[in-house]
Symmetry: C2
Subunit: 161 residues, 2 copies
């Protein structure tokens, strides 16, 4: 067993450490969704959730809402249109803009996720880090240790919160 140097280096490697932790959380979340039969990648749901929450958006607005660059948004929107979850049509007043909205199937999926999948994920993440406090590096260590002890998909017991 070799020392985790990214953890040992503290603030110097914080970006690497945080990114790694995010990847780990996303992978665990994906496992919960796979178990529950959710048919998409974890990374695609924020797009559906954004349109559900904010209403039809352009590609650029979607990129901003989910916090990635425009080319990334263009690609994921294309995938979700291909999968039949989103619809995109040119704005009537400005042919450059594409207005993205939920398809019937997309709406059905969001409704199912809202009732079955998302509460489970929220409760698992809350179980992992809902009660943390104190300095950032200590909380990160607690989350890493917590995931090692019991990954997210074994924390989804209660659907409360």
């Amino acid at each position: 067993m070799v020392e985790d140097v990214v953890r040992s280096f503290g603030f110097l490697t914080l970006g690497t450490r945080i990114k790694r932790l995010g990847e780990r959380l996303q992978a665990d979340t994906q496992r919960i969704m796979d178990e529950l039969g959710a048919p998409l990648q974890a990374s695609q749901y924020p797009f559906l959730a954004a349109v559900d929450r904010l209403g039809p958006l352009t590609v650029g607005e979607l990129a901003e809402a989910v916090g990635i660059t425009q080319p990334g948004a263009t690609r994921t929107v294309a995938q979700l249109v291909e999968l039949g979850m989103l619809e995109a049509k040119a704005a009537p007043d400005d042919q450059r803009r594409r207005i993205v909205s939920l398809s019937r199937e997309g709406k059905r999926l969001v409704a199912a996720a809202k009732s079955d999948v998302w509460p489970r994920i929220r409760s698992a993440v809350a179980d992992l880090c809902g009660n943390l406090d104190g300095p950032l590096l200590d909380q990160l260590a607690a989350i890493e240790d917590g995931l090692a002890a019991a990954p997210l998909d074994r924390r989804a017991g209660k659907v409360t919160l």
Copy 2:
């Protein structure tokens, strides 16, 4: 300006949010290193730092030390060998293992980074999040807001800490 839904969704999208934040921190760190003339990618330094700290390691041990998978380590080691920063030779007792160590040039680079670059990064990150406390989501919001107000490369003033 569109709402940041990943931030709004709280624990549900924590993995996405944390990963995004890590990418942002790494990108800012890269800018500091570029300004200071550091010749590598931010993602490559943990490998050099691991070998510097722990001594010669096999590819598998390096993967464990920096917290990625073995194929990722194989690739980055190959790049750093190509760049002349690392040397790899088969272990005398077990031809399967490759022992990775710092080249002369790699040692020189680590020494320069230790004295010039790493303290600057540490101080910038400490300036951003060294004094945070409280619940995780609040700290994440503070870091995001802090980066928006002044990215890391404009926080590297003092080289203390």
